[in-house]
């Protein structure tokens, strides 16, 4: 069987999770390599969760939230952005390509965008190969 990436997607309850629902309602198709974990806000994504996912073998992690200015909790997405920036540096130091971690803003109405973002991210991670392949010792 050919290798397929496993990707964890954090969705915030208000925008991107609903956006993912909207993608379903409109039947926008995207690759089945992603699993969604729902959190109330992208600002709830603890850096520890992201590291944990990579430790457990996730080939990619995508944090998604509301567009800047649209956060249901005002500033959660700003917090998320700050943490993803930090994590990109950190995983790079650990030897995990920083492209394996993504951050995208998807509104509740953007079903099409959700599908596009997932399709693009899956193909990007597929291009990077398995987590312990490209960068292994």
């Amino acid at each position: 069987m050919t290798w397929e990436p496993s990707i964890l997607v954090f969705c915030c309850n208000w925008c991107s999770y609903t956006g993912a629902d909207a993608a379903g309602i409109s039947r926008y198709q995207y690759p089945p390599n992603v699993q969604i974990v729902r959190v109330m806000c992208s600002g709830r994504v603890d850096p520890g969760f992201v590291l944990r996912a990579f430790h457990k073998g996730a080939d990619g992690v995508l944090v998604t939230g509301c567009h800047p200015g649209d956060c249901h909790y005002q500033t959660g997405n700003v917090q998320a952005e700050k943490r993803v920036e930090m994590l990109k540096v950190l995983i790079d130091q650990l030897g995990i390509q920083s492209d394996r971690l993504g951050l995208e803003w998807i509104s509740a109405a953007e079903g099409q965008r959700f599908a596009n973002v997932i399709t693009d991210f899956v193909s990007k991670v597929r291009g990077l190969g398995p987590l312990n392949g490209g960068e292994g010792l």
């Binding site: 603890d46 850096p47 520890g48 969760f49 590291l51 944990r52 990579f54 430790h55 930090m86 540096v89 950190l90 790079d92 130091q93 650990l94 030897g95 995990i96 987590l131 312990n132 960068e135 292994g136 010792l137």
Partner: protein
């Protein structure tokens, strides 16, 4: 009466393993060794500590231990100051990771490592940096996560034996302690940077620029009570003109911990303990010199927080000595 379930008992995890109790124990019971083993048992039964910082530090150690990735933590290194074939190596450890993860807290551990390189250069040593070294495993050992510790230890033993070095120098007392006591059959000499400089001072060659300050010195638990290194750092500080070295109320073997160990169970007590220690420091001096990167990170944290507004400056031993020691 029901038996006490130690699996989730906070006493198992709240212990700092600072070894202060063993100062007083008439029977010299290895209480902290006991704690370490109970933690392992607790973990087997589903227990776990209260991780700080979202378990990031532990997860990083596990990622490194998996051996799947080529670390890339030396971006800051000036290669002209290190050698690729010397016999003396400097341990880097987790400093770059902690700096990235805790940037907001104000962690600047790489600065200590860089100061150590400067310091070694000044006494004529271009240290080796072991690019393949992995986390020393100290924290994993002390939180009872033995399997991760074993993986890290085995990898490091391999790296050390392949490197051909004869001496390994530490800025962080934890790596030193764990290797000295838990890495078997080491044929590499281990030393804290304060021992190396102390020896250099003993040779009579050292001269220092003045540093005007009333200073008190914090003994890290691992360096003091675990490794017995109390005199060497103090001796070097006393050589620096302008430094007035004073002791806090509780010092040397009675010294109090910086408040947290192994990135777990930082809590109400930790804060209270830290505030008390700050109080002691302020009563004695204006500057507190620590001798372990993690200690200074923890003290910086208290200082950034509300609850302690008094003036005190923290500086790491390696940094102050590298600033003042004159090169050959």
């Amino acid at each position: 009466m029901a038996k006490r379930d130690l699996t989730d008992d906070e006493l198992v995890w709240n212990c700092l393993t600072c070894k202060l109790c063993q100062n007083y124990c008439p029977e010299d019971v290895d209480f902290i060794g006991f704690i370490k083993d109970v933690r392992g048992i607790s973990r087997d039964n589903g227990g776990k500590p209260e991780y700080t910082h979202g378990e990031m530090m532990q997860t990083m150690a596990r990622i490194v231990a998996s051996g799947k990735f080529r670390q890339n933590k030396l971006g800051w290194l000036d290669k002209s100051k290190v050698s690729t074939d010397g016999e003396v190596a400097l341990w880097i450890g987790c400093a770059p990771y902690v700096d990235t993860a805790l940037k907001e807290v104000g962690s600047d551990q790489v600065q200590i490592t860089q100061s150590a390189i400067e310091l070694l250069n000044k006494i004529g040593i271009k240290p080796r940096i072991l690019e393949e070294e992995v986390c020393c495993g100290h924290d994993m050992l002390w939180i009872g996560e033995e399997e991760t510790f074993e993986e890290l230890k085995d990898k490091n033993l391999e790296v050390l034996s392949e490197s051909g070095i004869s001496k390994l120098v530490f800025t962080c007392p934890e790596g030193y302690e764990v290797m000295k006591h838990y890495y078997p059959n080491m044929d590499v000499e281990l030393a804290h940077i304060s021992e190396v400089i102390s020896d250099y001072v003993d040779e009579g060659k050292a001269t220092f620029d003045p540093y005007e300050a009333k200073i008190t010195y914090q003994d890290p638990c691992r360096l003091g009570r675990f490794l017995g290194i109390y005199d060497q750092p103090r001796k070097v500080l006393e050589q620096i003109p302008g430094i007035e070295l004073v002791e806090m109320e509780r010092n040397r073997s009675r010294s109090r911990c910086c408040g947290v160990s192994a990135w777990i169970n930082c809590n109400q007590n930790s804060k209270k303990m830290q505030l008390q220690r700050m109080e002691e420091a302020v009563n004695a001096a204006h500057t507190l010199v620590t001798n372990g990167p993690k200690c200074i990170t923890h003290f910086n944290c208290v200082k950034n927080e509300n609850g302690f507004e008094k003036e005190i400056e923290f500086i790491d031993w390696t940094v102050i000595v590298s600033q003042t020691l004159r090169g050959v």
